[in-house]
Symmetry: C2
Subunit: 313 residues, 2 copies
């Protein structure tokens, strides 16, 4: 998948795009949508005064509001770029200003819980097209965003039955305009796929960094010094936004616990192989896992440079 | 710590350096030692004919042998760059040619088991200075090495009581010459520290990649497609050399199982927090782990660029 953005659109998709939340994702959408001419006007809302001030300073949007309803008023597309747990309350807050035909979308890493929280608040005729761009970095806030964050990455849409096809196609065009490839799937399947490809890996990374920090026999300074042996890669993931991730786990509970259970069973088998000197079992697994890595690199989902291309000579 | 190599030494440390094994680490030492003028002559041995041919082709060493004893004969420093499980047999194979005063070293990720396996084979007067450079990439083989692999990284020495101070200081100078910072510690402490900073992270990465590959509800193609959400970072680690890592786990069994036990206890507590909607526990851990990441970046053990500085615009 190409990692660069194509030329900007000749005609914008939306008249007025409203972004609620200007963190890593919201501010990246603002940058990409502007650069690619995806909306005539971009307005935004953020509850944090510092974020609003910074957004004004760097010109992220045409207007930045404190109140969600002010941003959503008159918008033909509103995208919620807030933690999953905030989507319901935000939908409720803008309910009175949404016009029939307007599209509401989000960027949450969990789709089932977001749909259940948002749908009841949307007036008749408003089209809800939930989305999840599978892209991000460990940084947070309006300065962390960049216009190519979504280029060469997947964006998953999970519209419910009965949503107007035109609304889905406009959202598809919007994400494709930012360089993403779009896939449509059901919310439950999405939540299962992401549990293993994203949520459980994050939980495990957070967990081992916590375990290491609590050791008595190994000092924290030693953990930091000798982290180049593998641990440091986990710390990058474990530096992701705490509120966003708390909400992900609380809102995708069943799939995460199910996948965690399987992870644990497999880990017990590995521990047993170590205890009983079963080198063959270990070697067979360690060989098998290389194939998955090759697939990820050949599909363009990661850079082929070893060590993530960390600086060399 | 500086990530660049300083100027080459005016006088070499060793007259003849013998490297046994020309994989990622051995071939990186060959390149760094030559570039930094750390040895007058560099000879090598590798049991794999393809590796020997390739090493000759790219001029990694002055002479490349199939037989360990041929390389070790007349060397004043022999470094074993083979998987941990092969160190004992290799020491045995070169026993008859080692001269009193010669230094034997290794690069294994486990130190207790290597010392136990190697020491009995070393003739009187040979100085054993075990070493572990905490550096590497997921690539293997003679082409994977590069001369700055050790620059800005730690090298840990674990000499036993009674080893000559001069031998330890020469090995220190050798690693410092390749840009490393040197730390001396006991083998048991090393094995505990590395269990948490390297061995358990690798085991977990291998494990989750295996779990994902075995799912029935999620296809392998979906795992690959949507891996940018976190999973792909684990696959990099899980692409490391299978034989090397099998040997690490079998030879650092106690420390790995002990650390794994703690990891599991912590993970159970997290799973319980998810099940019982305990967002505070999750948020508190996710906030705490950020501090460790900051420490690793500020100590120069990782690049500060988000997402490992993967390519952007």
């Amino acid at each position: 998948m190409p990692e660069r953005l194509g030329p900007p659109r000749e005609a914008p998709i939306f008249r007025r795009l409203a972004l609620v939340g200007l963190g890593l994702i919201g501010s990246s959408i603002a940058r990409a949508a502007r650069r690619q001419n995806l909306a005539t006007e971009i307005v935004a809302a953020d509850s944090n005064a510092e974020v609003r001030a910074r957004a004004e300073e760097i010109g992220l949007a045409d207007r930045v509001y404190a109140d969600v309803a002010d941003a959503a008023r008159g918008a033909d597309c509103v995208i919620l770029c807030v933690p999953v747990g905030a989507c319901g309350p935000v939908a409720k807050a803008m309910r009175s200003v949404l016009e029939p035909g307007a599209i509401v979308s989000d960027v949450g890493s969990v789709k089932g819980a977001v749909m259940a929280a948002v749908e009841p608040h949307l007036p008749e005729g408003v089209q809800f097209v939930p989305a999840h761009p599978v892209a991000g970095t460990e940084d947070s806030g309006p300065d962390a965003g960049f216009s190519t964050l979504f280029a060469g990455r997947w964006a998953i849409l999970t519209p419910a039955y009965g949503v107007e096809a035109d609304a889905v196609e406009r959202m598809r065009a919007f994400w494709e305009g930012m360089g993403s490839a779009v896939e449509i799937m059901s919310a439950p399947h999405h939540d299962l796929v992401l549990a293993i490809t994203s949520h459980v890996p994050h939980l495990i990374a957070y967990n081992i960094v916590g375990t290491a920090a609590d050791l008595e026999e190994v000092t924290r300074s030693e953990v930091i010094k000798f982290s180049a042996g593998g641990f440091r890669d986990f710390t990058r993931i474990a530096a992701s936004d705490p509120t966003m991730w708390r909400d992900v786990f609380l809102n995708n509970k069943e799939a995460v616990l199910e996948m965690l259970q399987r992870f644990n069973e497999d880990l017990s088998a590995l521990a047993r192989a170590i205890r009983w000197d079963d080198g063959e079992t270990l070697h067979a697994l360690f060989t098998r896992t290389r194939a998955i890595r090759r697939g990820i690199v050949s599909e363009g989902q990661d850079a082929p440079a070893p060590d993530f291309g960390r600086p060399r000579e």
